[in-house]
Subunit: 459 residues, 2 copies
């Protein structure tokens, strides 16, 4: 019989307190059991993290860099952080690109006129106002693009690679447009990078290479890619018209949002937790990455609410402009370069706040042994795994510059690439209980690392 | 170990031939075993039904009544039917409404500006060109609409009823707009009628009542309905702007497509099989109901290809304008009124061509006993169930007027309302093997009923 919610919370709290199982064999953890139990209990007590994420995403919608929505959401976060009693709450200024999608469409001109489902890629240029027409050339990857390079001249090229995993497929989205342009294509379509959906195109950033002309580029829904593939296989000549208003409109002012609990003994030593506050301009950026921001922020809020002030400073950072520029992560590194040596650990949550399994971690053996022990405090919520590699796009520049131990929240990612960068990235896809567990996991890990007598990785 | 495809086909054919299981106890079926086995074998031999459905939907896209796509698809079907060697191939003229969606959008004006995901309901009127603004009133059903009727004046009303099953929920789509209009609403949103998708709105027809003003109406994606519900629950005043170009543009010429195998002994007695050839203007109408058209057509084509000419005529009808008018079904009844008495049975496939279970049937006890026996020939493909009620929207008027035994193909409907009336209704959602089984089931049933010595229901 499954546990009731109340029973589950009691069990999870008791597990942290008593150190059953693996935790029982680690006596030095004893001082952290009671705070961990309180953090877990408070996180699981209600749906406040999910509710705050709903408030954020319901009120402001998407938060694309350069949009008023993002800046208003940033102002809201600063206000709420201060209401929470966080310390040194501030906006650290960042200039971000202002790319605006505008209207866009793709249609078959012949054999039969009709609309296809597309979504322009981030940072793409637009087409002329009247659109851009071309015959279709479909390639199954870069090999075929090389082989049939001469056929691409003047055509709209579809890079039609089935999704396997993100790492293997995303290269066609980021680099495909410039590769097609070098072969002479006038525009590039990329088969949508994501798991099978409901004619759901996935946007995401492209990177124009300097040695290729810039051409407009869009993701094409998988269903439409398959349709064009079948038309081509039947020997049909297919002609398309692409219209995109997309354009880069200079830069805009934005900010990383920072809040802290200042350490009681070593305030200059910092544990950073965070996610990115910007999103793509479809959906409401609940999964990518409103959720990561809220659970890291909630973790710090709970410490404050419970009167838990660790030895070192715990700092939450809501980074701006991860999606199409990474300017927030770069700006944090530059603004804090002098204190990176005092960054004890950085933790990012940017894989969705689904059911947490634990963490990925990158650091020395001593640090790994320590965080593995700390993670046993989370055995009661089954979030005690510590995988081989941690980090995140936003903390990346700082981690690299400062050789800082890096952690990522690790969750059940089964559905992540179903929603990723689509209009379906909304808060209803997330379970309040899972979001609470993510908060609990981050709270316990970051509090304990900030509280340890020895700096992480030095014992 | 699962059977290979070849083994499966052989087993299914052998089951029909040998009359294993239930069929073995029905000696009068013996003359039908060999034709049934040949039809099953031919249907399962290749993916020709799926391929033809792909050709139809890839080439023409959606086939909304009044569109050029529908009429060109009709011309294609007539041509292909003649190539197949079907007899008396003809277009039976039908006037259909020409409703055109045009551009449409819904946005939050405040608390925070942003787009919502909507899809206008079929037959809706449009808004003024500049759109139409109103404060939002959310009602959980007609009771609340009655109770809060006075609050609806001048507002955009969202009828926010979670999907349970289609029958219970579709009433809010068809009648909600006029109910809201009578209470004074300026526009009506209906929470999308379908199972949980990926911010996937479902269109479908509304019916304006004569005693209410006509107001624009649209389906709202479930995620957006939930978001508005939460905003309202937080006490936020929400103001929306709806823009819809939708308009009825008179009528257009269309046709039911008819093809036959003329009966060798009683040509005036007819077994009708068919589906509807029109679709909504999103997706490509592969599931609803291109598939129903193709499998019934393929069933007749296979009889022709195998030289099977039953005693009675088998007629395939691809009805026009089911979705927003039912003019095809009504026109068939009117054009064939004199011969309805000679309609031995009518079978419609309009529930998707997923894995078939068998049939639903409405007719007298003698007829039911006969079709249950015939269905045992389909035991080898597990399509031998005969459920309590058959029929279909298109055959409905004729069935009613002529008191004709009525049958529906019954399939695994688990995913039907995920795709129904959405842009995700495309051929890739259908499995070629399932489509082949649907063809086989319809071919065996319609051939055998047309071949029986006694007219169905009279023995």
């Amino acid at each position: 019989m499954p546990l009731s919610r109340r029973e589950f919370v009691a069990t999870a709290v008791a597990a942290a307190l008593s150190g059953r199982g693996a935790a029982a064999r680690i006596p030095w953890l004893d001082p952290y059991r009671e705070p961990a139990a309180r953090l877990i209990g408070a996180a699981l007590e209600d749906a406040s993290a999910w509710n705050r994420l709903a408030e954020l995403t319901d009120t402001f919608g998407h938060r694309l860099s350069g949009s008023r929505a993002l800046e208003d959401a940033i102002a809201w976060a600063l206000r709420r952080m201060r209401e929470d009693g966080l310390e040194n709450v501030r906006a650290e200024p960042v200039r971000v690109p202002r790319w605006v999608r505008g209207r866009e469409s793709l249609e078959i001109v012949f054999p039969y006129p009709g609309e296809l489902v597309m979504l322009g890629l981030g940072n793409s240029i637009g087409t002329p106002a009247e659109g851009l027409e071309g015959d279709l050339l479909i390639v199954s990857g870069y090999d075929e693009l090389e082989r049939r390079g001469r056929e691409a001249e003047g055509r709209i090229v579809l890079v039609n690679v089935p999704f396997t995993d993100y790492g293997a497929t995303v290269t066609y989205r980021t680099s495909g447009p410039s590769r097609a342009a070098r072969a002479g294509a006038v525009a590039c379509l990329v088969r949508s990078v994501g798991t099978d959906g409901l004619r759901t195109p996935h946007t995401g950033m492209l990177t124009y290479r300097r040695d290729a002309p810039q051409i407009p580029a869009a993701a094409l829904a998988v269903e439409d890619a398959l349709r064009l593939e079948r038309l081509a296989a039947r020997g049909e000549r297919v002609r398309l018209r692409l219209k995109m208003d997309a354009a880069m409109h200079g830069e805009a002012d934005s900010a990383n949002v920072v809040g802290e609990i200042v350490g009681r003994e070593r305030p200059h030593e910092v544990v950073v937790v965070g996610g990115h506050f910007d999103s793509w301009d479809v959906g409401t950026g609940a999964i990518d990455d409103g959720g990561g921001c809220i659970v890291t922020w909630e973790a710090v809020r709970l410490m404050k609410a419970l009167g838990l002030r660790p030895r070192r400073t715990v700092r939450v950072v809501l980074f701006t402009n991860e999606e199409n520029g990474l300017r927030g992560g770069l700006a944090y590194r530059d603004a804090h370069r002098a204190e990176l040596a005092d960054h004890v650990m950085m933790l990012e949550s940017d894989g969705g706040v689904f059911r947490p399994h634990g963490f990925g971690f990158t650091g020395n053996d001593s640090a790994r042994a320590t965080v593995q022990s700390v993670a046993t405090l989370l055995g009661g919520i089954q979030a005690d795994a510590v995988g081989p590699s941690g980090g995140g796009a936003d903390i990346g520049p700082s981690v690299q510059a400062g050789q800082i131990p890096a952690m990522a929240l690790d969750v059940d990612g089964t559905k992540y690439f179903l929603y990723h960068h689509t209009s379906a990235d909304t808060v209803d896809k997330l379970d309040p209980g899972d979001v609470a567990r993510c908060t609990a996991a981050i709270a316990v890990m970051s509090y304990t690392v900030a509280e340890l007598p020895e700096r992480l990785g030095t014992s």
